[in-house]
């Protein structure tokens, strides 16, 4: 049971990580990064590291994509 769960989450981390790299539009990439952060949070939780899961959820899944979005918006307006 746990073994199967681990394999599934390992694969999901791999797939979503690749998806982040393959997404080319920065805005979509920020959202994809957030989804990747959420999957990584689940991954850490299953590996019984709730502390790390907490940090990943707050920084990786919320703050980092938001910062990226703000920076992208700013850069796009600067270019115009």
């Amino acid at each position: 049971m746990t073994q199967a769960l681990l394999v599934i989450v390992f694969l999901m981390v791999g797939v979503s990580g690749t998806a982040v790299v393959l997404t080319r539009d920065p805005r979509r990439q920020a959202v994809m990064l957030s989804i990747y952060g959420l999957i990584l949070t689940t991954f850490f939780l299953i590996l019984q590291a709730p502390d790390v899961a907490f940090s990943e959820l707050t920084i990786g899944a919320t703050v980092l994509p938001l910062m990226l979005l703000v920076a992208v918006v700013k850069a796009e307006r600067y270019r115009r």
Partner: protein
């Protein structure tokens, strides 16, 4: 460098890194079979030595507290750097006759339902984040994680109600004081340990009863100050970024 050359360089060095990576991974312990000495030591000795049930927090703020001061000041200096850079941009833009574009930008006003839900969510986030900070020595979480949760509550207020509510929830002057106080208190507690116990970050406070709220000595105190520092730091960064997006650039 043109495209084919760049691609060839990528393939060559990428293959090298992949080979080294695989070599390293196969040299690790088998999955789930940890053999290191420190993990076993800390897992069995943290509760008797420090009366803290969250081993990660005890390691962060006591056993390896000196490392955490480094991490704390990485955050501190990045907050300072971001603020300095963005504020100097602000001054340049003002000199260039730029105006905040909150009036210019085509953003529809949030509805009352969204405002209410957003403020309720922000209040819940503050409460939950404070809980995570204050119970850092007992349950998963701690100053860093809880601090980010508290800091992001201000962002929720901004996204759902706009800048005014955001500025009210996180007054920038108070946040600056909180940031400095949190960062300074960590070193001050460490120095107190040096004076009272003979070594930097010595746990000089009574350890109390394990699993009680007031226990684990200086771990709890440092954890709470780190929570203050991180919450203020993130609120400051959000503030500077939001002020930036509200301004029209050239």
């Amino acid at each position: 460098m043109n495209h084919p050359v760049r691609f060839a360089a990528f393939v060559t060095f990428g293959a090298g890194i992949l080979a080294l990576f695989c070599w390293a991974v196969f040299g690790l312990d088998r999955f789930g079979e940890y053999t290191g000495a420190y993990g076993i030591f800390f897992n069995s000795m943290t509760v008797p030595l420090r009366h803290a049930t969250n081993v990660s927090t005890a390691i962060n703020f006591d056993f390896r507290g000196f490392d955490t001061i480094g991490e704390e000041y990485i955050l501190f200096s990045s907050v300072c750097g971001t603020t300095m850079l963005l504020r100097s941009m602000e001054i340049e833009e003002e000199a260039g006759g730029e105006t905040p574009d909150s009036a210019v930008r085509q953003v529809s006003e949030p509805t009352d339902a969204i405002r209410l839900a957003g403020l309720a969510l922000a209040a819940l986030l503050v409460m939950f984040g404070t809980y995570v900070i204050l119970h850092g020595h007992l349950t998963p979480g701690g100053g860093f994680q809880g601090g980010v949760i508290v800091g992001s509550s201000a962002l929720v207020a901004y996204l759902t109600t706009g800048y005014t509510a955001f500025a009210k929830i996180s007054p920038i002057e108070l946040m600056e004081v909180g940031e400095a106080l949190g960062a300074g208190a960590f070193v001050a507690i460490g120095m107190s340990g040096l004076i009272l116990g003979g070594s930097f970050l010595y746990n000089f406070l009574p350890l109390g009863t394990t699993s009680q709220f007031a226990s684990a000595g200086t771990i709890t105190l440092i954890n709470d100050f780190v929570g203050l520092e991180v919450a203020s730091g993130f609120a400051i960064v959000f503030h500077e970024f939001i002020v930036q997006t509200l301004r029209r650039s050239r």
